[in-house]
């Protein structure tokens, strides 16, 4: 029997203990992987490459305040700007209040929107149809699949913010990776039914010529409106997304705190198990040593066992986290969770590394004690 075979056999010989330890570690690592994935999505990811040239201008205080329509033309005059489209959040309620029926609905300008969202792919003839029909709407292909919509279907929308029930016709369907699951319809259609909304927009999406233009153009736009009645805040799409997160409070410290607690918790669990399992084998260790196994050999055997157990738990946890995130991003009820969130390969490796290090650290002390047992006393030891 090889050494590694011996280690694996030993790891799973007390099946219940190993199983319980593995489950315990796996839940902790699930949480850790989840937290790391959230961290990565919010703070490290730069978003899809197509959005690197997109910036968003909104009211400096809050998205709840609309910007005047003339801001659009002023933004257009800034050097480096390719296209500007208005966008206003209409709501996320469809049919009833059920979360499963919820998806984002927004109004925009069909003529210019495709230019600021080049990552959305639409068949040209459908796009033309949407642009020609003022009551038309463009929906995500995935969304259409979910509700069984076809081109030409008519939907009645409702909004918690606007007291109207516009009836729109689906004229176009777009594909985007990751799915955006949103519906867009014409700003003008909303303006016609709501007089006071005329000449306003929630925010402006601007496409700049090169990624290098993002910073200077953002600055120029905010500088331009510095003395206007409504000051603006312009930022990259990623920063815009992040601003929703940072408004919740000190999220970074929060995530780090949870990660710290989780790592410490698995350390305790793993340490506990190893102490128990080695204590029960005092006699065996003495036999091994009597057979001529060196202290180093015994030490490495136990440490190896500890690492194997933690890693097994780690694999389960990472897989669990991947499933949870997949479920979250694909569940229609999850609003505000970025659809592109996933457990990436580096995150997996990092999680497993944490698991292995925890196994190593927690195995060291009990294994060291075991390797030091006196052979004669160990042989005499009873259970």
């Amino acid at each position: 029997m090889t050494l590694s075979g011996f280690v694996v056999r030993n790891t799973f010989r007390n099946k219940r203990r190993s199983l319980l330890t593995m489950i315990s570690i796996s839940f902790s690592l699930l949480l850790l992987t989840l937290m790391m994935s959230i961290w990565r999505t919010f703070y490290i990811d730069q978003g899809p490459p197509n959005t690197a040239k997109t910036i968003i201008t909104r009211d400096r205080v809050s998205l709840a305040f609309f910007l005047p329509a003339y801001y659009r033309d002023k933004i257009r005059s800034v050097p480096g700007v390719v296209a500007v489209a208005p966008m206003t959040y209409f709501g996320n309620v469809y049919k009833d209040d059920r979360a499963t029926n919820s998806f984002a609905q927004a109004v925009t300008d069909p003529d210019e929107y495709p230019k600021v969202a080049p990552d959305k792919i639409v068949p040209p003839e459908q796009l033309l149809a949407w642009q020609r029909d003022r009551t038309g709407a463009m929906v995500d292909v995935e969304l259409a699949k979910r509700f069984g919509w076809k081109i030409g279907d008519r939907l009645v929308l409702q909004s918690p913010y606007f007291p109207v029930h516009p009836e729109v016709t689906i004229r176009a369907m777009y594909t985007v990776d990751p799915p955006a699951r949103a519906l867009y319809f014409n700003t003008k259609y909303l303006e016609e039914s709501l007089g006071w909304f005329k000449g306003q927009a929630g925010w402006y999406i601007t496409q700049v010529a090169t990624p290098g233009d993002v910073a200077p153009v953002s600055k120029a736009i905010d500088e331009m409106f510095r003395n206007s009645p409504q000051r603006t805040k312009t930022e990259s799409q990623q920063a815009f997304r992040l601003s929703f997160v940072s408004s919740l409070g000190n999220v970074k410290a929060f995530i780090l705190g949870i990660c710290g607690a989780v790592v410490f918790a698995i350390l305790l669990v793993s340490c506990n198990t190893m102490a128990m399992s080695i204590r029960a084998r005092t006699r065996e260790v003495a036999v091994l040593k009597a057979l001529g196994f060196t202290r180093q050999r015994v030490l490495s055997m136990f440490v190896g066992e500890s690492i194997a157990l933690s890693l097994a738990g780690g694999v389960l946890g990472v897989l669990g986290a991947a499933l949870v995130i997949r479920g979250l991003t694909h569940s229609p009820a999850a609003i505000g969770i970025p659809a592109d969130m996933s457990v990436t390969f580096p995150t997996m490796v990092l999680s497993l590394l944490v698991a292995a290090s925890v196994g190593f650290v927690s195995g060291c002390l009990p294994a060291y004690n075991a390797s030091r047992t006196n052979i004669v006393e160990g042989l005499r030891h009873i259970g």
């Binding site: 219940r16 203990r17 319980l20 330890t21 489950i23 315990s24 570690i25 796996s26 839940f27 902790s28 699930l30 949480l31 989840l34 400096r60 205080v61 809050s62 709840a64 009645p229 000051r231 940072s246 408004s247 919740l248 409070g249 000190n250 705190g257 949870i258 607690a261 989780v262 410490f264 918790a265 698995i266 305790l268 669990v269 340490c271 506990n272 198990t273 102490a275 128990m276 259970g383």
Partner: protein
């Protein structure tokens, strides 16, 4: 006959290392749960303590918040003479027309910008909010470009000390005083004279809200209905307590994340506790059999082991609470879903939070102890005695 608890206590003490490590694991889970519950308790306190049962807030009909409203100043005299309003120190009705705006200030530590509520009020506004106490300097004076800031604003933003000037609106404002609002939502505000504010933000001739101080809570309720029912006014009266209670929904995201995290960690800890208890049972096979021979019944063995597990969990809960106590009162902020500005609140480890933490830990202990205890109670006496 029941097995005395001292038997379990001694057993826990006998295997100190195992007990401490398992209890610490439970303690960590409890710590996380306490942290989240304390956050929510603090947030709730900030909103609940902001409202005074005697105060009626008047908004434009249909507007949900002070920020989204605004009504003509010509309506104000009508409000002033409504019955049931208390008298201020000068013998006049205690009412305050106010303007609320949100400004953006950079954080002192350079970690970005924060929305802050600035409230312009009439002199009576201070009398209407007796919970806010001046701790340094003096209140702002009518007709002057002066502001008073809350204690937490002073500590979180630069240029917010007495004698400093703040830049917002159309110019600079002098900081003349600091007030303590006792952890209420006012703790996140800057106060100034309403007329000065209105002219800075081009809002003369109107108010975003008005505060009426009734003589007692019953009069306040009557006043609220009177304002809402008056067809000429097109205004809506809200009790201040209700207005703030509604804002606690700002804590919903924290709540959801908190529940998910706490549950996942609790499952992990329960399995760890189960492991420890199984080990405890395995070590004591012969002992349990002896107890059975002595006449202790199966149910009493089951109870004894469940009790031991609960004891272990309780130890963890106490350790968790002690670990979190130093963080009691720690300040943090989150975005207020109604005012769009940051609301500052502090962690509150109340008795209720501590109690929930203990219940939470006991649930883990129960789940972790039940199966091993069942296993212990069902052991065959003869085999166990021989083993």
């Amino acid at each position: 006959m029941a097995i005395p608890i001292s038997y379990n206590v001694r057993n826990l003490r006998l295997r100190k290392g195992l007990t401490i490590m398992t209890a610490l694991g439970i303690a960590l889970t409890v710590t996380t749960a306490i942290f989240l519950m304390a956050l929510l308790a603090g947030l709730q306190r900030a909103f609940v303590s902001s409202g005074n049962a005697n105060n009626v807030l008047v908004l434009r009909k249909g507007s949900e918040a002070e920020l989204s409203g605004g009504f003509d100043a010509a309506l104000f005299p009508t409000l002033k003479v409504l019955p049931g309003i208390a008298k201020d120190s000068h013998g006049d009705p205690m009412v305050s027309g106010e303007w609320v705006v949100v400004i953006v200030l950079p954080r002192k530590d350079g970690t970005g910008e924060v929305n802050v509520t600035v409230r312009g009020m009439m002199p009576d506004g201070l009398e209407i909010r007796p919970s806010a106490k001046l701790i340094e300097g003096r209140w702002f004076q009518t007709g002057q470009r002066e502001v008073v800031v809350s204690k937490s604003i002073r500590s979180r933003f630069s240029h917010a000390n007495i004698g400093d000037t703040m830049e917002f609106g159309k110019g600079s404002w002098k900081v003349v005083g600091v007030f303590d609002a006792g952890g209420s939502a006012y703790e996140s505000e800057i106060w100034a004279d309403v007329n000065q504010m209105a002219s800075d933000f081009d809002r003369q001739g109107g108010y975003s809200s008005a505060y009426l101080r009734a003589t007692d809570p019953i009069a306040a309720d009557a006043l609220k209905n009177r304002v809402s029912d008056d067809q000429r006014l097109k205004l809506e009266g809200v009790l201040e307590t209700e207005y703030y209670a509604k804002q606690t929904r700002s804590g919903a995201p924290i709540k959801i994340i908190g529940i998910v995290v706490a549950i996942i960690m609790a499952i992990g800890s329960s399995f760890a506790a189960m492991n420890t208890m199984y080990a405890a049972v395995a070590y004591r096979g012969r002992e349990i059999a002896t107890l059975r021979v002595l006449g202790f019944s199966r149910p009493s063995i089951l109870t004894s082991f469940v009790l031991e597990s609960l004891l272990l969990a309780l130890l963890g809960a106490v350790a968790g609470i002690l670990l979190m106590l130093p963080f009691n009162g720690m300040q943090t902020g989150t975005s207020n879903a109604v005012t769009f500005s940051e609301v500052v609140f502090s962690l509150q480890i109340t008795w209720q939070v501590a109690m929930y933490a203990v219940i939470f830990a006991l649930a883990m202990g129960l789940f972790g102890g039940l199966f091993p205890a069942w296993h212990a109670a069902r052991q065959n006496i003869l085999t166990a005695l021989r083993g």
